[in-house]
């Protein structure tokens, strides 16, 4: 009886997983099928011949690698800026007493009251006016504006869990405020910082609308708009190349998750402080 239930449960769980993962599996399979096999009726599930030609085409004959580089720079740049500003900002919102502190924290969330479509044009004009339009930097700035409020709140709640006494003890022990922050607060907030970085990175990696409006040169185009621009036109969609590009776009996220998910769970487990 117990055995039957376990088998049934496993069957159910795996069928859900299969259902959710099917588009991904289909994407990978499609990317290694030769072009002529794609539109065959009835369709084949496993490819009759496996080919990596689409990958080679993307890498050697298109600006794919350039887009990849742009995406990596933008995503890492945004994550770096957001984390530095948000950790210091959250620390200030938690530890320092100044008038309007709570109001300020709430005000930060006003960014999310307006749909991004409304914000993107003024932002574009602003970028032109400042003179950074059409650059990687402009995207880093734009993504920071909408990732920062959320990161600030996420880190703030993490930091509220760190006892005040820890920082006080470090100060009495002879640390400066900055040293106390680095030696004591940062290690305690690390799980929070990692999950916030993850969130910010994914956001910057997947963003489409701002990239579409703010940037129109291959020099600064990230993968999302770059691949779209390159492979999808009104008359034709390069399915094979699109699937190969999609697989390669997903890889960095898969790798990051594979590394950090174990760190995340370990970090959360170690977070307890007695007292």
């Amino acid at each position: 009886m117990k055995m039957v239930r376990r088998v049934a449960f496993n069957l159910f769980a795996w069928s859900v997983v299969g259902l959710v993962a099917f588009p991904l599996i289909w994407m990978v399979i499609t990317s290694v099928k030769p072009q002529f096999e794609l539109f065959r009726i009835p369709p084949t599930f496993l490819p009759e011949t496996v080919t990596f030609e689409h990958y080679w085409t993307l890498i050697y004959d298109t600006p794919f690698l350039k887009y990849m580089r742009n995406s990596l720079l933008i995503a890492f740049g945004t994550t770096l800026v957001v984390i530095v500003v948000a950790t210091l900002g959250a620390h200030s919102l938690v530890r320092f007493r100044y008038p309007g502190r709570e109001r300020l924290a709430q005000l930060v969330l006003f960014t999310y009251l307006l749909p991004s479509v409304v914000l993107v044009l003024p932002l574009y004009l602003l970028m032109v006016w400042v003179g950074i339009a059409n650059s990687l930097f402009s995207l880093v700035v734009a993504y920071t504006t909408f990732a920062l409020p959320y990161a600030l709140w996420l880190l703030r709640s993490f930091m509220q869990g760190i006892p005040d006494d820890l920082e006080a003890a470090a100060l009495v022990d002879g640390a400066t405020r900055m040293e106390a922050f680095i030696d004591v607060i940062l290690p305690q907030a690390l799980p929070g910082i990692i999950s916030t970085s993850l969130f910010t990175f994914i956001l910057a990696w997947n963003e489409y609308l701002f990239a579409l409006v703010l940037v129109n040169t291959d020099e600064a185009r990230p993968l999302t708009t770059g691949v779209m621009n390159m492979l999808i036109s009104s008359f034709n969609i390069e399915w094979s190349l699109l699937m190969a590009a999609s697989v390669m776009m997903s890889l960095p996220l898969v790798i990051i998750f594979a590394f950090l998910s174990s760190y995340l769970t370990r970090g959360f487990g170690a977070g307890g402080v007695k007292g």
């Binding site: 006494d165 006080a168 003890a169 100060l171 307890g272």
Partner: protein, 359 residues
Amino acid sequence: MSDIVFSGVRKAFGSAIALHGLDLTIRSGEFVSLLGPSGCGKTTTLRMLAGLEFPTQGTISIGSRVVNDVPPGKRDIAMVFQSYALYPHMSVAENIAYPLKKRGMPRAERETRVKAAAETLQLGALLQRKPRQLSGGQQQRVALGRALVRDPVAFLLDEPLSNLDAKLRAHMRAELIELHRSLGKTFVYVTHDQLEAMTMSDRIAVMNEGVLQQFATPKEVYEAPANTFVATFIGSPSMNMFEGALADGVFSHPALRVPVTPEASGHGSRLLLGVRPEDMTLGAGPLNGTIRVVEPSGHETIVLLDFAGTTVTVRAPPDMPLGIGSVLACDVKSSRLHLFDAVSGLRIAARFGAALPPA
């Protein structure tokens, strides 16, 4: 030479006043307790001395140096927190070494000092552990170790024993007394537990609602409380108060009369006569109380008596027959009575005669 002096120190948090003008001198090498109920300003006082809060007014000096603007790390004081505040990601050895590291002490010397401190506190076997792998008592020792490794001018302790169980607390109390004696350093100890303050201190600063009530030796605080707050806060069960008036050299309350000679004039007409539970004798005497409640605790029995509407607590021997509702004859030790002004609450020095039966 390194006295700690508070002069006119006021602290306000917005409109809430935590401390109203504190003047206090702690002599070098002294063990001083700041004692009072929660919210009395004792922790604020300690945190200001540590440099974690800033006085709104007044000055704080350590030795001859005014430290109002000196950051905590440069005041040459060490602090033990109620929560211990051990750095969770560092080992015991790293925790103890942290203040030395921040002072730029070379590694070799650091290690020697950490070892010596660990030896003193019997932490030698635990140096590589993380704080969460230690018991409460061990964490407490690490916190102490982090304080004494630096050899500071003064140790500030903020309710360091309140998270320990009763048995360990008694043990650590004895260890702290021992430590104070062997180090000869100034200890400033914040507590709301009068037993800790009475047993450990050279002097006690009793505080209430941001005002220093009395600063004196434990014996003096117990035997000559400066006002009704100190009188009822120190001692358990607390001091009994009879409210009455003085006429023709006799204090009268509906249930007792006592001849009183005040040593100074200028007090009001409504007075309070204070008697500690341990200063009442039972079985014979001119006073009669009705037994209301009997609380046996093994080595003694606490009895609540009704004296013409005033409830009075007394200590009775465990074998004394006590029937609820029956009348018990008592007397007071006239050498151990206290007199206070009922309005201002201040102590009135006086000599007392033997108690008389009520008129």
